[in-house]
């Protein structure tokens, strides 16, 4: 199997498994879908909005200067059917978030999973919780 074929298959699998909703509104072109980065900090704001939720996280950089990262997530419509609410994340919450980083290196990315201070892991995939 060629590298290009493998890449295509991986990309297709990612779309099928995790990205159906995201893909409906826009492509993954802005994200490095093979990349993974973990950022840890304090939630500044959680936008429970369409077409995407946004988590703004204050993260101290290597110089100790606080930078704000923007993390795109699934829509409130999609997440609301999978146990999330507008209060799932609140300003001040300590959080560690795994993201697919922006290709252009700017401080943002696509949500993969988050871990809260109490160890609870938040995901944005899976079956709806209501029948």
């Amino acid at each position: 199997m060629t590298r290009a074929m493998l890449k295509l298959l991986t990309a297709t699998a990612v779309v099928l498994i995790s990205g159906a909703t995201l893909a409906a509104h826009h492509s993954f072109a802005a994200f490095n879908m093979q990349g993974e980065k973990t950022i840890s900090g304090t939630v500044k704001q959680f936008d429970w909005t369409n077409p995407h939720t946004w988590i703004w996280v204050n993260v101290p950089n290597e110089q100790g200067v606080v930078e704000t990262w923007a993390i795109e997530g699934m829509s409130p419509n999609f997440l609301g059917r999978r146990g999330w609410t507008k209060s799932t994340l609140k300003a001040g919450d300590k959080v560690s978030v795994v993201i697919r980083p922006m290709r252009d290196g700017s401080k943002g990315g696509m949500f993969v999973r988050a871990t809260l201070a109490d160890g609870k892991v938040l995901l944005q995939t899976g079956e709806p919780t209501e029948p």
Partner: protein, 270 residues
């Protein structure tokens, strides 16, 4: 004085008669006569109650245990549209432009047929002479007139076209014509003026709906393009609001370059 008065009267007469002239000019091709308007009767509502019950909230089944329901041809693997030579060349040209995203990134809804394949639920409403589909994605709505009216001979071009439906036994057969040039048959396959879509909606079991969609387009397709979808009814669900412009940070520019606006200044105030 008299002259002024006469002129005023003449002006009034011209204003009064001119709309008639305009109407007469447009009335040269008589449109099919719609059924006379009337309020639905108890019998009309009773007739709705006898139809297969499509009412409620439905969502497409996707792969991964929910029995893949998107875009697969009946009884087989997903199959793409078969294109004319011109449409094949057009697709090649569009593919070579390697656009990173399409206009939905800018919140433009996809229109037909793409709007029926979104990963968000749809609510079906049935009233006398009308089936209404409320589509959560992009907050869209389709009206399917089942009152016996004909399709318009020269329809306006719309994202969802103009639809009429008829019942063939337990199947609602919907014909749609007149589509905006901003909609496409599939990725990189723009439609022609004569695209026509026939959808067959039926209940496979009480909470499962199948939709068989057939696109014909003599300028683009060498054969009808048929796909099948399966939807599940979610009786506890309601349709949620989806205002795409609420906080849209994604965009695609005119060259097809995709991007994201990460400027928090644009975020909704808290």
């Amino acid at each position: 004085m008299v002259e002024t008065r006469v002129r005023r009267i003449m002006t009034a007469v011209v204003i009064a008669i001119s709309p008639i002239g305009v109407i007469a000019a447009f009335a040269q091709t008589p449109a099919p006569k719609p059924p006379p308007p009337k309020s639905p009767t108890a019998a009309d509502w009773a007739a709705v109650a006898k139809l297969p019950d499509f009412t409620g909230v439905w969502e497409l089944s996707f792969g991964g245990g929910r029995g893949g329901g998107r875009g697969a041809a009946p009884g087989g693997a997903p199959q793409g549209p078969q294109l004319t030579t011109a449409a094949t060349a057009k697709r090649k040209q569009l593919q070579s432009e390697a656009r990173e995203d399409n206009q939905t990134a800018n919140c433009l809804p996809p229109g037909m047929p793409g709007i029926m394949g979104q990963p968000y639920p749809m609510e079906f409403l049935m009233t006398p002479g009308l089936v209404t589909i409320v589509i959560e994605a992009y907050t869209q709505v389709r009206h399917i007139y089942t009152d016996g009216r004909a399709l318009p001979p020269d329809p306006d071009l719309k994202f969802h076209g103009t639809s009429v439906g008829r019942w063939e036994g337990d199947t609602l057969v919907v014909e749609t014509v007149g589509f905006s040039p901003l909609t496409e048959i599939a990725a990189n396959v723009p439609h022609g003026d004569k695209m026509r879509i026939v959808e067959r909606f039926r209940l496979a079991d009480p909470d499962t709906m199948t939709i068989q969609t057939t696109v014909t387009d003599p300028d683009v397709l060498t054969a009808p393009y048929t796909s099948a979808r399966t939807l599940k009814r979610h009786r506890t669900w309601t349709i949620a609001e989806y205002i795409c412009e609420e906080n849209n940070r994604n965009f695609v520019d005119e060259k097809g370059k995709a991007g994201i606006n990460l400027n928090q200044a644009g975020a909704p105030a808290k």
